[in-house]
Amino acid sequence: MLALRLVGLTLISSIVVLFACTPSQPATKPTDVPKAAESSKPVEASKPAATAQPREQLFRVASTNPPVLDPGLITDAISIDVVNNIFEGLVAFDDKGTISGVHAERWEISPDQTTYTFTLRQGPTWSDGQPVTAKDYEFAWKRNIDPKTASDYATTLYPVKNAVKINTDGMEPSELGVKATDDRTLVVTLEEPAAYFLRLASTWTLFPLREDIIAKHGEKWVDPDKIVTNGPFLLREWKQDAQLTLERNDNYWGPKPTLQRAVYRIFPEGGSEQALAAYEAGEIDSLGTTSFQIPAAQIGRIQNDQKLKAELKEYAESGTMFITVNNRLPHLKDPRVRMALGAAIDRNLVLTQVLRRSGTAAYTLQPDGIVGRKPDIWQKEDVARAKQLLADAGFPEGRGFPDLTFTYNTSEDWRLLGEHLQQRWKDTLGINVKLDNMEFATFLKWRRGDEWKSLGHTFRGGWFSDYEDPNNWYNVLWDSHEDPGMFNTGWADPEYDQLVKQAQSELDRAKREQLYGQAEEVLARGYPAIPVFHYGGRTLVKSYVTGFAPTRVLGLVPLRAIAIN
């Protein structure tokens, strides 16, 4: 009996001690605790310790499971990131906008700018040894524009002759304006001049594909034992939901990457805490860019930790978060109302205190890198001016202004933003704000529906560049013909439509920039949506990793630049 009591007491006390010792924030983390030589990888070099031995050229990064690896069918950043490392195409752009030929040795553009003739270089081969030919490009483009393939990004091919009719009107895919006149020559005919076509040629939907492999295996051709690729890395292994392994392609025609192997360690969606724990335990070398943000609750701790702070990496992203406004409703029709709402927001406060994420305040809808952008002509933050604008529009101190609804898809971050806006607009403008949230897929559907058109007020919106060209912003988003299928703002300006249509086919660079600049002025006056911040990424990368340089578009990480010290 006594023994039992003692056992019980010991148990109780140890549990109490256990719970008492759980700090709300792990204050001390002994970083030099000798870890067990445990690794979750089957073949693994020694743990990264502060020794002098050279590290294996292995890069381990956190990721979510890429849904698709077929370049013609991908839609999300994770898949694009992997595909960009194992496949490549005609040309590529760097962050400064300089074009370089990848498979294309040179290209000629006809005087009327509708015909592009690409000469492919000798050397690039597929992973099974076959040379990459112009026919592989012809096949890939025709296959991706085929409505039966149902590619989400088929629109990337729309500038090509007959593409729209094939994809939407039943014309035969063989009629597409692309032809391989011989193994090394690809002739592309466009519907009309399009200055941004080369940008499109650098994207994944225009990568080459192997007709025989796809014919043989159907949709399963992307399995690691069947896939055939042409990039600097090979898909070695893909254990679904667990890990994806890439290996250096030793037969790559160009400069061989330093990295020997890259492991994408897969975590479930929303598993940023798990990824962070694995990073701190040394199981991965980076938190990655496409899948996980550093959890807001941990930022403080990380910034106070010397070692972790040095491993933080911030990078710019080509994207803007904005608040979409329904321009049709009587109380939101007046641009002064929309400008008042925009001028009342303290954007730096939103970034540093509310959302605690990296990024920069946005006054224009277009992010840095988009030609035509003129942040200076857009209004800045000014509460007094905001009040004045609202009064001028007929709602002094918010009197008479109906309750404003802000809708967002259910997520912690957007809820924080919504609550902040609620308070902010009430304090500065006297406007009452109601919050409404819905599950993501429902939210997307609602945005395009009739209920939004007649009843909706504002919603959480944003856009990321698919390619860094003004076309991807000015034409695709705010042209009144595209608007219903995009953000459905109901804003329309015939002068704007005309300017951007003209700019789209304008080939003289200076003239094009001027036209888009004029369109920017119309946008700044019309203020169809409220820019809040330009996205910026922030991740953790171990100090022994060099060359980690996420691209501004989509934050992709080219593995060929990475080396381990």
Binding site: L4, I12, P67, Q240, A242, A277, R448
Partner: protein
């Protein structure tokens, strides 16, 4: 008994059909579809996608075609989101991991929970009993997404004994299995205890005591069998739910299991996957109930099926 079991197995199919019909109906009335993306997809592309997956056919035809596929070819369709994978691929890949984890967790819960309940019942209102009750309440109330990270922090980050997540070696299963087992353990302990206490007042136990048998002998050999009936009842349902994978635990420990597909296939509106896992769960629950009923017959000879 064999006949009875066979009839019960047959009865599973109408249940599955009903589940299929209700789920299909829910798909149709829930707003949002599989092609809704942040980046708006042009109408023509949506039409192409619908045509590719047969979503442009009339509703009754989709209902019948899919059912025919399941019944004749065991084909639950392709995943809308993971284009190169079929539902059978996904279930085949991940169910074993979830099931292993689940079986280990239930095994732990049974191996620790039932003896704990027995000990509590042997010495009701003693210090041990109170301690066991306390542990049971703790195990049951604290959610898995709090205990999980706590265990990770202690055992993986601080002590470095175990990995933080994944599922490659047996070590990876330790923490998730413990986390998963806590709530069932608590339930088993409490149910065993109260059932046993009930039974100890029964006549046949009094007889055994009067005969002078040792208390522990009475409990284990005579009383326990009957006390296990309520435990078997909840055990069946718990096992069925745990085997198909727990969303929380699998997320917290990054275990590649089937549990998270129950949730992500809803947000993705990945109908074939959602239908597949729903039918799977329904089937497993039905079978689990059958197993429980058969277990009753072994536990209590008074129960007969014909």
């Amino acid at each position: 008994m064999g006949q009875y079991a066979f009839r019960r197995v047959l009865a599973v199919f109408p249940v599955l059909l009903a589940v299929y019909t209700v789920t299909f109906f829910l798909f149709q009335i829930t707003p949002g579809g599989p092609w809704d993306r942040e980046r708006p997809v042009p109408r023509e592309v949506v039409e192409n996608l619908n045509r590719k997956y047969g979503l442009d056919r009339p509703m009754w035809q989709q209902y019948v075609d899919y059912l025919a596929g399941v019944v004749t070819r065991f084909d639950f369709g392709p995943s809308y989101k993971r284009v190169s994978r079929t539902v059978t691929d996904i279930i085949g890949d991940f169910l074993p991991t979830s099931a292993t984890l689940g079986i280990v967790a239930v095994g732990l819960a049974v191996a620790i929970g039932i003896p704990l309940g027995v000990l509590s019942a042997l010495r009701p209102n003693s210090a041990l009993d109170h301690l066991a009750s306390f542990l049971a309440v703790v195990g049951y109330s604290i959610p898995s997404f709090i205990i999980g990270p706590l265990l990770i922090w202690i055992c993986a980050l601080w002590l470095g004994w175990l990995p933080t997540g994944g599922a490659d070696t047996w070590r990876h299963y330790v923490l998730p299995a413990i986390t998963l087992s806590l709530a069932p353990l608590a339930l088993f302990a409490r149910y065993t205890r109260s059932a046993l206490l009930d039974v100890t007042h029964a006549d046949y136990v009094r007889t055994a005591r009067a005969k002078g048998l040792r208390e522990s002998m009475i409990v284990v050999r005579h009383a326990l069998r009957n006390a296990l009936i309520p435990v078997a009842t909840i055990g069946g349902v718990i096992t069925a739910e745990i085997i198909v994978g727990s969303f929380y635990v699998e997320t917290v420990f990054a275990v590649p299991g089937l549990g998270r597909y129950f949730v992500t296939s809803v947000t993705d509106r990945d109908y074939p996957v959602l239908m597949g896992v729903t039918l799977l769960l329904a089937g497993i629950v039905a079978i689990a109930n059958l197993v429980v009923d058969l277990v009753y017959a072994t536990l209590d000879p008074r129960i007969r099926y014909n």
